[in-house]
């Protein structure tokens, strides 16, 4: 009986008795969710353009952040370093298209997937060679990102919002909205969706596959840079950041691999769900449930929508 009370009643009693903590938990979940969504967005972009799960997205986050901080440490002013990093991500996109993707046109998806494995290990090695393995401090102040927190007294307690988290939420929202418009309303966006459906068909109607791939990988690179800056500011810039990319997997399962809105909604559901779960139900089983709870939430949704919340229902004639 106690177990049932602890599972079904007590968490809600806690929510009612300390509503400020509930609001704080929801906020932390939303911030985590937005940041997960940013990572998931990188995966979605590449998947939409090539039908390939880009295993390298996590290391792209690390590589972009390391490049930014590395350039700054080499004496380049912060804003110029930011611009140069965007340039580096463009060069990376061109390089990936020329060296990795172009020779693999029309190969099975699994071949392209394995190619992204190779790209991952190349970027790890190259990043360590150039920047070393030591953690670095994100240049938050130099990029004019705010520090500190805003605290509100409310609901009999207080809620603290970190300014960097507010900034992350705003930047992520703007990026997601821009990308949604870009893919839905522009000619390139439509071309990109055509490429995702069929390389051959897209080529036959005059769409430049190479150009599309460069655009998409470059966009994914910019998303990776934004993600790296935000996560780096919350912790440190190190190769540990690539582990965070794993958090995008349940978001993708939930939101669908091809949907930009799915990435953001999925991210928010996973972020809020895992924080609420860990905070209110975690102590019942010794805590530390976050890492698998996200998958349970995603799988729960899949029972009702196997294609994900916003994924396309694929019907293949057999």
């Amino acid at each position: 009986m106690d177990i049932l009370y602890n599972i079904f009643i007590d968490p809600f009693v806690q929510m009612g008795s300390a509503p400020d903590l509930l609001v704080q938990t929801l906020w932390e979940g939303l911030v985590s969710g937005v940041l997960y969504a940013l990572i998931a967005l990188g995966f979605v972009l590449i998947f939409k353009a090539s039908g390939v799960f880009n295993f390298a997205q996590g290391i792209m986050v690390v590589f972009a952040a390391l490049t930014l901080v590395g350039l700054y440490e080499a004496g380049v002013p912060a804003i110029l370093a930011l611009i140069l990093t965007i340039g580096v991500m463009f060069v990376l996109a061109v390089g990936v298209e020329r060296i990795v993707l172009r020779p693999l046109v029309n190969q099975p998806d699994i071949i392209l997937f394995m190619a992204t494995f190779g790209l991952t290990y190349f970027l790890i090695g190259f990043g360590e060679l150039v920047f070393g393995g030591n953690p670095k401090v994100m240049i938050t102040d130099q990029l004019y990102l705010p520090r500190g927190s805003v605290e509100f007294e409310m609901l009999g307690g207080f809620v603290s919002l970190q300014k960097i988290d507010i900034t992350a939420a705003v930047i992520a929202s703007v990026m997601v909205a821009s990308l949604a418009v870009f893919f839905q309303k522009t000619r390139i966006g439509r071309a990109l969706r055509a490429v995702a459906d069929s390389h051959k068909a897209a080529l036959s109607v005059g769409i430049s596959l190479n150009q599309i791939w460069i655009i998409v990988w470059f966009t994914a690179g910019i998303v990776a840079l934004a993600t790296g800056i935000m996560w780096g500011a919350r912790s440190e810039v190190s190769f540990a950041l690539q582990i965070i990319a794993l958090k995008a997997l349940p978001v993708l399962i939930l939101g669908g691999f091809t949907s930009v809105p799915g990435a953001i909604v999925g991210g928010l559901i996973i972020g809020v769900g895992e924080k609420l779960g860990e905070f209110y139900w975690g102590p019942l089983v010794g805590s530390g449930i976050e890492s698998w709870l996200a998958y349970v939430i995603a799988l729960g949704f899949l029972l009702f929508r196997p294609q994900g919340l916003f994924g396309e229902k694929i019907i293949e004639r057999i």
């Binding site: 985590s32 080499a74 401090v137 919350r234 440190e236 924080k275 976050e290």
Partner: protein, 440 residues
């Protein structure tokens, strides 16, 4: 950049030269170093790897090795991954290594049963299985100068001192944030026992490896539970993130105390909020020691080190130096006991078991005042040495306490019971047959 590339090339040349020399070459001993310069934990692994390698390289450069035997150094990259660590072990064990330094509790645990079979001593310096301090049960495992259980008992003792006595801990709440892996879980049995004995409430906040950089749930729980003190056993990115999160919820930093692993980089990453954070330590920071100056002159200045000059003397670099000092003394002792120049793993096991680093010997080594004396015996493979508390002042670590003795009366019975339990649960665990040597 050019300098870095040239250093890497030089290292590659030196490494290939080392490979070219057979491990059993005349007048040389083979010392593999398990390191992690890559991966999620490289922030902690790099300074330790540099300190370890540089001290032994310095001995090669200054003294031609140890007792006339050149040290052949070979790093094996584990990435702090247990599977890779075991692969490294399998790769080096045929080359007659004089000992293994796994540098991970997770890697140490599967190597413990293999050590006796392969006759290779394991040196898990202040990490690994706490119970392996019992030399009668674990003749091939050494974990000086203190176990994780000693460390926890020192932290609780220190907290007790802050509160006016251990009896004042009754009714207090102590939180424990830790890496949810072998290392972080290691002190849980003692923590649980101490909470029952001393009457404090223990709150656990495990951090899975994939949440190291996203600990908001754990620290929200801390905010809800309002522990009086927080204790941390963290590694890699867990440490700076935890300090940042603690600052975020306004947890008083002087009541946030860690085991000895946070490094300078961790606190720099944490920013201004980390000021006041405390950790245990048992050796000095800084380079004001002849041995460290020899490293500077003979290794770093000659371009034989991968360390940046300004990182010499940082806490984790010096931790690596301390580790290699133990390696070197184990080899030297083995040479003295056996009269051989080229010693084996079996010899070095005896060397470690007779380790007696007193003040005079530390002075000879150019490390006077660097760390306290330590003596190992056949039964005690740890030493259970005291450690002191240090505090981050915003730029550097400052020693803030006298040495704190571990609670031997509470830790020892538990260690003995844990060792006995390990042996009973491990089918066919061998009884010790190795004879004891006299102290060198």
């Amino acid at each position: 950049m050019v300098r870095k590339l040239s250093t890497i090339l030089a290292t590659a040349v030196v490494a290939s030269a080392a490979f070219a020399v057979p491990a059993k070459a005349q007048d040389s001993v083979y010392v593999p170093l398990f390191t992690y310069r890559t991966g999620p934990f490289s922030g902690s692994g790099i300074p330790i790897a540099n300190g370890m390698r540089d001290y032994l390289t310095m001995l090669n450069e200054r003294d031609g090795g140890i007792g006339g035997a050149k040290l052949i150094l070979e790093e094996c990259e584990t990435g702090y991954d247990t599977k890779k660590g075991v692969e490294c072990y399998e790769a080096v064990k045929g080359k007659n290594p004089v000992m293994i330094n796994p540098w991970s509790t997770g890697i140490t645990l599967p190597l413990i049963p293999r050590a006796a079979v392969d006759k290779i001593p394991i040196l898990s310096m202040a990490y690994g299985l706490s119970a392996s301090a019992d030399g009668d049960t674990f003749p091939w495992i050494f974990n000086p100068p203190n176990t994780y259980w000693d460390g926890l008992s020192m932290i609780i003792k220190y907290i007790g001192e802050q509160e006016g006595g251990l009896d004042k801990l009754k009714g207090k709440k102590i939180g424990y944030v830790y890496l949810d892996a072998g290392f972080g879980r290691e002190p849980l049995p003692l923590f649980d026992q101490l909470s029952r004995d001393l009457g404090f409430e223990l709150k656990l906040y495990p951090v899975p490896a994939d949440s190291m950089q996203n600990q908001s749930s754990q620290w929200l729980s801390v905010r809800r539970d309002r522990p009086d003190y927080m204790v941390m056993y963290g590694w890699g990115a867990l440490n700076p993130t935890a300090v940042k999160e603690a600052a975020k919820i306004n947890f008083p930093m002087e009541k946030f105390i860690s085991i000895w692993w946070p490094g300078d980089d961790d606190l720099r990453s944490a920013g201004a909020g980390g000021k006041g954070f405390k950790t245990l330590n048992w050796h000095a920071v800084g380079t004001d020691f002849p041995a460290l100056q020899d490293i500077q002159k003979l290794v770093v200045d000659k371009g034989l080190s991968q360390a940046q000059k300004n990182t010499l003397g940082e806490v984790l670099y010096n931790r690596g130096v301390y580790n290699s000092m133990l390696i070197a003394e184990g080899i030297r002792n083995a040479q003295q006991i056996t009269g051989k120049k080229v010693v084996t793993g079996e010899d070095v096991r005896r060397g470690l078991e007779t380790l007696d680093l007193n003040e005079a010997r530390l002075k000879e080594l150019g490390l006077e005042g660097f760390a306290g004396p330590i003596k190992l015996t056949c039964t005690d493979h740890n030493g259970h040495r005291p450690a002191f508390m240090q505090q981050w002042d915003g730029e550097k670590w400052v020693k803030i306490s006298e040495p704190i003795e571990p609670m031997a009366d509470r830790v020892k019975p538990l260690l003995e019971a844990a060792a006995k339990d390990y042996a009973e649960k491990s089918t066919g665990w061998p009884k010790r047959t190795e004879p004891c040597d006299k102290q060198s």
